[in-house]
């Protein structure tokens, strides 16, 4: 233990003597999963402040690298290798979800919550829940819109579920891949303080999608303005989580490239949220146009039958008109 204390003291000494203009020592974040400290005791030497928070984060990861030694060395064809990506407890998953819902300026999601223990549970199941939430609430809102029509035939659209699933999973995996590749490329040119592993980026993206689940449920409300306001709110929260996570990774870079990266991240996220809204509407869009046609051809709405699940007039459904 004495050796570790000495190392800690030495690192703090280095940080203290480094020039104040450079807020962070050049600590190299070793990539790949490593042992996670479950509860970090508050290091007494760390004073408050965001810089120190990041330093503490780096210190923690370095310290645990030294203390843990080789932990995850299973070859990738064994089951244990994949078990290391699911090494989270319930409270950790809840903490991460809470962290994605409350973006606090300066608190880095990766440093604070993931702490070099990225998991795949959150991204996978949040995406799955999101797909089904969009599908089910899209179906539901379509049903509620056409409530009371005699000729409306309700169908659950299962084909579209697979399309929505493809889009969401592609976003949650391909965009982190591209971003990780881009950050690696920039890191080879500019030495950054912070660099994230691929799994950590996937983790951030996965957890940032959580806000869309309650949003999708609330999209059932048929007002257009309400839907767009909900999109804005969700985009604001998750976009700021992403921006605050990736800003420390690119701020050492050329100013313009850093800004361009952040803008691209936010832009892609905007595309996704608008895409979610449209796929939500997609779950009933085939019925919007023929509904207007039906509306013209009918004089009165039937009274007294709240749910008109009668036999459909198939010829009027007009799929081919779309």
């Amino acid at each position: 233990m004495a050796a570790v204390d000495d190392l800690q003291f030495e690192e703090f000494g280095d940080a203290a003597t480094s020039p104040a203009a450079n807020p962070g020592a050049t600590t190299i974040h070793i990539e790949g999963p490593s042992e996670s400290p479950t509860h970090q005791p508050g290091l007494p030497r760390g004073s408050g402040g965001e810089e120190d928070d990041e330093l503490l984060g780096n210190d923690d990861s370095d310290k645990t690298e030294l203390l843990a030694g080789q932990k995850k060395s299973s070859p990738f064809w064994t089951f244990e290798y994949y078990q290391t990506f699911f090494d989270v407890d319930t409270y950790q998953v809840f903490d991460r979800i809470k962290g994605s819902l409350l973006p606090i300026p300066g608190k880095n999601f990766v440093r604070l919550y993931i702490r070099s223990n990225p998991d795949l549970y959150g991204p996978f199941w949040i995406c799955a829940t999101l797909v089904f939430a969009i599908a089910i609430s899209g179906n539901l809102s379509n049903f509620l819109i056409h409530l009371g029509e005699k000729t409306y035939h309700y169908v659950p659209e299962f084909r579209k579920v697979s399309i929505a699933a493809t889009i969401i999973y592609a976003y949650a995996w391909l965009v982190p891949l591209a971003l990780w590749g881009f950050l690696m490329w920039r890191n080879s040119k500019v030495m950054n303080i912070v660099s994230y592993s691929f799994l950590e980026i996937v983790c951030v993206y996965g957890y940032s999608l959580f806000i869309y689940i309650p949003t999708a449920v609330l999209w059932v409300i048929p007002q257009k303005a309400v839907r767009w306001i909900l999109v804005m709110i969700a985009l604001g929260i998750s976009g700021s989580v992403l921006a605050m996570t990736f800003w420390p990774a690119v701020r050492e870079d050329n100013r313009r490239i850093a800004l361009a990266t952040i803008v691209t991240i936010v832009l892609l996220h905007t595309l996704l949220s608008v895409g979610c809204l449209f796929s939500f509407l997609f779950f009933g869009v085939w019925f919007f146009r023929p509904w207007h046609l039906l509306q013209e051809s009918r004089m009165t709405k039937p009274a007294g039958k709240l749910m008109g699940w009668h036999h459909p007039l198939a010829s009027k459904r007009g799929h081919t008109e779309v």
Binding site: T90, A128, T129, N139, P156
Partner: protein
């Protein structure tokens, strides 16, 4: 009997002692108790599944399997914490239930091609791939349940939802209306809760204690999607 350590010669002796020489002088005496058992574990009751079942009549074979399936159905309908589903797992019950559910859920006429309801194959795939995904998830989280045991439990716990499907089909023969819908909604909700309780009773013990919620949530999602498919089923 412990001999006096004759090997402890003077330090001044010049003969080098071989390695571990003193070990031969040590022997275990009666007053040092040896802990533990060195018994061969008894083999559990294995039924004689050899040539004796080849000679029995077909009816015996089928009835034995049907009785096993029926017994497990009873365990699902009245869930207590028991090991029957886990110990003697079989996949007949899940297959019967899945085929029944898929047959009832598929769209009934061929010319309603544009209808968005699920085909037989879609329901089948959803049920089986959903069960496989949940099993993989619980194993990755560190649960000590075998793959097929988990599939067995998840498949058998579809039984309440299959019953709900039957009830819904019967209710749909009556006059459509809000009462119709409310009855179906109530039945599906009750059966959904029953499925969750049954599967939790069987699966929860095999998960690590601080990850139970993480392992149960996908089960909830799975049965929720199936319940949604049942609730939104409309006959042609």
């Amino acid at each position: 009997m412990a001999k006096a350590a004759e090997s402890s010669g003077d330090p001044g002796t010049t003969t080098p002692r071989p390695l571990f020489a003193g070990l031969s002088d040590i022997s275990i005496s009666q007053d040092i108790p040896v802990e533990g058992e060195i018994t061969i574990p008894m083999r559990s009751q294995i039924q004689e599944f050899d040539s004796s079942t080849l000679n029995e009549s077909v009816q015996n074979t089928i009835m034995r399997d049907l009785k096993a399936v029926g017994k497990k159905f009873m365990h699902v309908l009245y869930p207590r914490k028991s090991n029957t589903l886990l110990r003697d797992w079989d996949l007949w019950g899940p297959l019967i239930l899945c085929v029944t559910l898929a047959l009832m859920l598929q769209r009934s006429s061929v010319d309603s091609e544009k209808d968005g309801g699920p085909q037989f194959a879609e329901v089948f795939v959803i049920v089986w791939f959903g069960a496989v995904t949940i099993t993989l998830n619980s194993k990755l989280l560190g649960g000590n349940i075998s793959f097929f045991q988990s599939l067995c439990v998840l498949g058998y716990c579809i039984l309440p939802l299959t019953v709900a499907m039957l009830v819904c089909r019967l209710v749909l023969l009556a006059e459509p209306g809000p009462v119709n819908f409310m009855v179906r909604l109530f039945v599906v909700i009750v059966m959904f809760a029953w499925s969750i309780v049954a599967s939790t009773a069987f699966l929860a013990d095999s998960q690590p204690p601080n990850r139970k919620a993480l392992a149960i949530y996908p089960v909830f999602l799975f049965y929720f999607v199936i319940s949604w498919m049942i609730l939104t089923f409309t006959p042609q």
